[in-house]
Amino acid sequence: MVEDFRRKDETTPVVLMGYYNPIYKFGVEKFLAVAKASGVDGLIIVDLPPEEDDELCLPALEAGLNFIRLTTPTTDDKRLPAVLANTSGFVYYVSMTGITGAAIKSRAAVGDAVKRIKGHTDLPVAVGFGIKTAEDAKTIGRDADGVVVGTVLVDAIGQSLKDGKATDKTIEAARTLVAALAEGVRAARA
């Protein structure tokens, strides 16, 4: 899929996000070689904290792939430098303690957290978890360098499917939502 995409687009960064086990099962060395050759730019692996850097983070950096780390509301100032140490590409701030798709409780707290992280790193900070609408993207986009949207996009695509297969509405559903979210981020910059 990444190879196909790369044939048409050589500039948009591609980041793979997921859990470690499918990569571990595939084989770390083989995975990194295939990912690099296909044009992948970075990885976000949610269940690999810095304590497990030897597993994939260090080999990925050596292979020339970015390893984008999650920081969370529970990552305090004492721990933050260790979390940022082997992070590259950008920092992904998780807006809440919870799971993807839940709602952000305090936007002011998110802004404060982004400022705090920026005090420790020059990397761009993107915020994810709980961003559902153009309005959310606009508000969060004022403090963050980027926003990460997953659950509502999956929902929008999911609602367009028939019997689990894409329909002529699917691409439009994704495009409409992404356009609105992008508009929100641009409004934050204006």
Binding site: N21, Y24, K25, D47, E51, T74, R79, T97
Partner: protein
């Protein structure tokens, strides 16, 4: 535990929570500070004589320890080989070994100032033990249990509710222990400030496998001294059932450095190890992977997607196993064998009829392995089985399986 010597099998885990390549801390960043805090609190507690004294007092006067080591005379005669002994963990308060770990962890939760407890449960034994200690220590608790398990273990669901716990039925996946653990982890990641996650098995991220093992190791320590007193020396074989493996690691740990003691773990063979998705034997039928915070043997497909295990026993159909068992499997110190549903049911009936003890279906898996081993051993040899739980909760599903009517 440097006193064990450098070649001891009892030195694990290392400072990264590893037993060989297994174990570790494969968790989201949100949880990482919590498990580091938990580890520090656990180390501090174990050095505090007041903590140890309270745990010891509760073990004796609340849980009823030590549990007896019982000579199963009729079963021994029936099988015609080695002497068979039961370590009667089913006589503990709440009816299984699970209380050993719950007492240790609830005292820890209190010390850490946590105000809410969550737990996952399969057969409901751990859920009942957690609900029990939460009632005693006045902490609200929420138990996550797969919807399928709620149905097949409803007597335990009623017990948990009567003890004041909220039982949340999890309908995701096959509605079993894996799904309950996923949901408990989701709750924990959402309520990190207030909530203590009381894991019931010797799995999950470090320090849980070590901590749960330490609280269950009393089983093997007692067997050692009780057997020496009753028979002299060491038993020739130990057997325990393995789901996540808490009663098994508790039984085995004290004997790992005693090479004359053969050790067997009975995994859930379900419909048979050769049947796709028909068993929950992670070690004899799986491969290493990463799930629920640790690297261990898992039931998974070639893409690393986790498979649904099957077992007649709700306590054993977990697609993983504690990391220390994976290590003991690879080092071949412990022999893990699959036991089918049918073999477990047969052992359940035999024990009930010959000894007047209704074992939990989980423990019946261990018993089925004893039935295989005993006839081939000499009459002056001994096997100790950890009878980890009582089977009251299972009489309805066994009755159904056997087509018994009212």
């Amino acid at each position: 535990m440097a006193t064990n010597g450098i070649n001891s099998l009892r030195n694990g885990p290392d400072e990264h929570g590893r037993f060989g390549i297994f174990g570790g801390r494969f968790v989201a960043e949100t949880l990482m500070p919590l498990i580091l805090e938990l580890e520090a609190a656990y180390r501090a507690a174990r050095l505090d004589p007041a903590y140890e004294a309270q745990l010891q007092d509760l073990s004796v006067h609340y849980a009823g320890r030590p549990s007896p080591l019982y000579f199963a005379e009729r079963l021994t005669a029936e099988l015609g080989g080695a002497k068979i002994w039961f370590k009667r963990e089913e006589l503990n308060h709440t009816g299984s070994h699970k209380i050993n770990n719950c007492l240790g962890q609830i005292l820890l939760a209190k010390r850490m100032g946590k105000t809410r407890v969550i737990a996952e449960t399969g057969a409901g034994q751990h859920g009942v033990a957690t609900a029990t200690v939460c009632a005693k220590f006045d902490l609200p608790c929420t138990i996550f249990m797969g919807a399928t398990d709620v149905e097949r273990q409803w007597p335990n669901v009623l017990r948990m509710k009567m003890l004041g716990a909220e039982v949340r039925a999890v309908s995701a996946g096959a509605g079993t222990l894996k799904d309950a653990m996923n949901e408990a982890l989701r709750d924990w990641v959402t309520n990190v400030d207030t909530t203590y996650y009381l894991i019931g098995t010797a799995a999950g991220p470090h320090p849980y496998p070590e901590m749960v093992r330490d609280f269950q190791a009393v089983i093997g320590q007692e067997i050692k001294s009780q057997f020496a007193e009753a028979e002299g020396g060491l038993p020739d074989a130990l057997v325990a059932c393995v789901g996540g493996g808490s009663n098994a690691i508790g039984t085995f740990h004290a004997f790992l450095d005693d090479p004359t003691v053969a050790i067997y773990g009975a995994e859930a063979g379900g419909h048979g190890i050769e049947v796709d998705n028909g068993h929950a034997a992670s070690m004899t039928g799986g491969s290493p992977g990463v799930l629920h915070g640790n690297r261990t043997y898992l039931l998974q497909d070639k893409d690393g997607q986790i498979l649904e295990g099957h077992s007649i026993s709700a306590g054993l159909d977990y697609p993983g196993v504690g990391p220390e068992h994976s290590y003991l499997h690879d080092t071949k110190r412990v022999t893990y064998v699959p036991i089918t549903d049918d073999e477990a049911i047969e052992a359940f009936q035999l024990c009930t009829k010959l000894e007047g003890i209704i074992p939990a279906l989980e423990s019946a898996h261990g018993l089925a392995q004893v039935i295989k081993l005993a006839p081939a051993m000499a009459k002056n040899q001994s096997i100790v089985l950890c009878l980890s739980g009582r089977g009251d909760k299972d009489v309805e599903s066994v009755g159904k399986y056997l087509g018994m009517s009212m």
